[in-house]
Symmetry: C2
Subunit: 405 residues, 2 copies
């Protein structure tokens, strides 16, 4: 338990911020330095490192039958600009803890076990998020990924060679087709803490749609313009948003509705706003419900057209993911073996496991996250929860790696 | 009628913008150049120019009894960054038109008539607005005004000497105590146009209070955070704003309620907002109503405190102004003489006349403003409306300037 905690603290020195958090941008020198530390820890127990073209790093523990497809576990080490010590790092370090335990116990497996550090999960500098895993799963081509530009116009293709070189001379990872993938992660939400469960067995990842609503009226002088002469974009936007909140407040917690960005133009206290734009982040675990709720949003936009114009645009869409039932079952059995209090839950956040799920039976386990706070320097998790999750991960991976078929 | 229109077009070349508007910042070289043109026009009919320390420019037409206090009219020539051709300029050029008419007709008055161009009415670069008239009326000290800083930290005291020098050698304006003040202005609102009246007799200027409402919640992940765990600042702010709009929508047009600025933090589509700040611009012509409506706003802020904190701060206050009844009566009589369709109305915007009203009987007349659009390059007024207003102004000033006491 202490070793796993200490590893988190050691890794958090790479990009440490003054309020306890971490800034470790994907593809940065500090990202590479953190990886070198993990490569070094792995080398002590004989893990074989290799690197692919997008910067995914693989640490392989050989099994007795190298012709069998390897079992994968892992996560990411890059962080948000003001991220925490556990998001991503936990999945990597829980996997390392497991492999050290197997090493110390002299435990053999049929299949190779691969601990993977996916490149650029956060997508903070170079979009999209989960870049490394989506290239690995061929959902995104390497060529497309290399075209990604940061906000200053610098391309990933200019940055990546230096990052890859910083790993030192490593063999190129080739032909790694996983037999299964299990990822451990902090929940990044408050559910496990509230329900007092040490472990969450993740059934899937919510589908997501982003919309932008634009309300167009007419700028006018706040002092001289009577009500009847106003086309107040903010007034209409507030009424519409109020109706949307009222609708979604009446629906259970399986739907997530958030207005996160709201821009008002011209934004002068004594000018009636001529334009408001706001975003909607809509999530649900079922594709048909997502479609129905999207329609409900469109209907309300339609209803509030009048003195102001209201338009709606869908910015992005990500379909819901359902993880392998056999992996969910395996995680549940493993937790039972070790007596870990558990529950099933859906992930509201996206993860690398989303892309792996398209190519191999995949699953995730969550450990609690203090007050549900993540993507924040205050992110925290109890050391006993970290340990319990690692134990369930080890039990599950061991069972998978001992399956001949 | 043509001369008055042509003068507007000529003046609009000083700081002309490409969509028909004007950018003539207060205290700028272009502001001084426009004034030199007016000084030149005035000189042709014998007007005597003088300048005070804040940059108010006075063009005096002597009467037969110089010991009597002079009658004032005028307005301003500085504009908003994307202003129009008529805001301010009209009051100056209507006064000039009047004086040219008196000159051409050989019309004598007992009292001097002073056409004044107030400095920095807009306050766009150096706050406050109506700076020149408030210094003239001793509501603001010259020393305070000179401390004003623009957004780059430059002080008015550094800029003003160059501006004053640009007028050439002019005598210092001293001891000008007006007998009365009448200002002509475009309405900057849609009321006269809607009511099809060529003239508005202004009863006063609405009192104004600015508030800032701040709603504080807790940032959270849009995907992982259930409703019960959210302290969504935007949700609360929308509910509060909706309640405020609902309340003020139920009250007549004598109250003006505007939410003009609205800021949402952090403003990321997939983060539940932790903080929203919005402004309220509240106007009414009665001080006691302004106080009652302010209380109604505070009550609603109180009512929406709960999962989020709601605070309210008053940013500024300007009490209502009632113009001199005798000046209103005079304007009405003058309009009657010339058969100009008229109505009384309150000004929602502030004007230099507000400060003059504190020292001398003052009043304003409004002419229509196309579609109520002002502070905008599209600002427009019909030439016959400009002419009718100038005629009523001339009639009124003539009567005042012929009063011995």
């Amino acid at each position: 338990m202490q070793r796993l905690w200490d590893r988190h603290m050691a890794l958090a020195t790479f990009g440490a911020l003054d309020q306890g958090g971490v800034n470790r941008p994907a593809f940065s020198p500090i990202d590479a330095q953190a990886r070198l530390r993990v490569i070094d820890w792995g080398a002590r127990i004989g893990l074989l490192a290799s690197l692919d073209s997008i910067g995914n790093l693989f640490l392989r523990r050989p099994g007795t039958r190298p012709e069998l497809a390897p079992v994968f576990t892992g996560s990411h080490l890059d962080t948000q600009p003001t991220g925490g010590k556990f998001d991503g790092a936990y999945g990597v370090l829980a996997g390392l803890e497991m492999l050290e335990t197997f090493h110390d116990a002299g435990c053999e497996t049929l299949r190779d076990i691969v601990l993977v550090i996916w490149a650029n999960e956060e997508g903070s500098r170079f979009a999209p998020t989960t870049m490394g895993s989506s290239v690995f799963a061929a959902s995104l081509s390497l060529a497309q990924a290399l075209q990604a530009q940061d906000e200053h116009g610098e391309r990933l293709s200019e940055v990546l060679p230096t990052f890859l070189d910083a790993h030192g001379p490593l063999p190129v990872a080739l032909d790694l087709i996983p037999f299964a993938y299990v990822e451990a992660h902090i929940e990044q939400g408050p559910v496990l803490e509230a329900e007092q469960r040490a472990l969450g067995i993740v059934t899937g990842i919510q589908g997501l749609r982003w919309f932008e609503i634009e309300v167009c009226g007419q700028e006018a002088h706040a002092g001289t313009t009577p009500k009847a002469a106003r086309a107040d974009a903010l007034h209409t936007a507030v009424n519409l948003a109020h109706a949307l909140f009222e609708y979604f407040d009446g629906i259970g917690d399986e739907v997530r509705f958030t207005i996160g960005r709201w821009r008002t133009e011209p934004g002068s206290p004594n000018t009636v706003p001529g334009r408001v734009k706001f975003t909607i982040d809509l999530r649900h675990q079922k594709a048909e419900s997502l479609a129905a709720f999207s329609q409900a949003i469109e209907d309300r936009c339609q209803a509030y057209r009048g003195v102001c114009e209201v338009t709606i645009a869908q910015l992005s869409e990500s379909p819901p993911i359902e993880f392998s039932e056999s992996v969910q079952h395996l995680l549940d059995q493993s937790a039972q073996v070790w007596g870990v209090p558990r529950m099933v839950l859906i992930s509201g956040a996206t993860h690398d496991a989303k892309w792996l799920n398209a190519m191999t039976p995949s699953g995730m386990l969550f450990v609690p996250c203090e007050h549900g706070i993540s993507h924040n320097q205050r992110e925290n998790t109890k050391r006993e929860d970290l340990a319990a999750g690692a134990q369930v991960l080890a039990e599950s991976i061991l069972r998978l790696a001992r399956q001949a078929n």
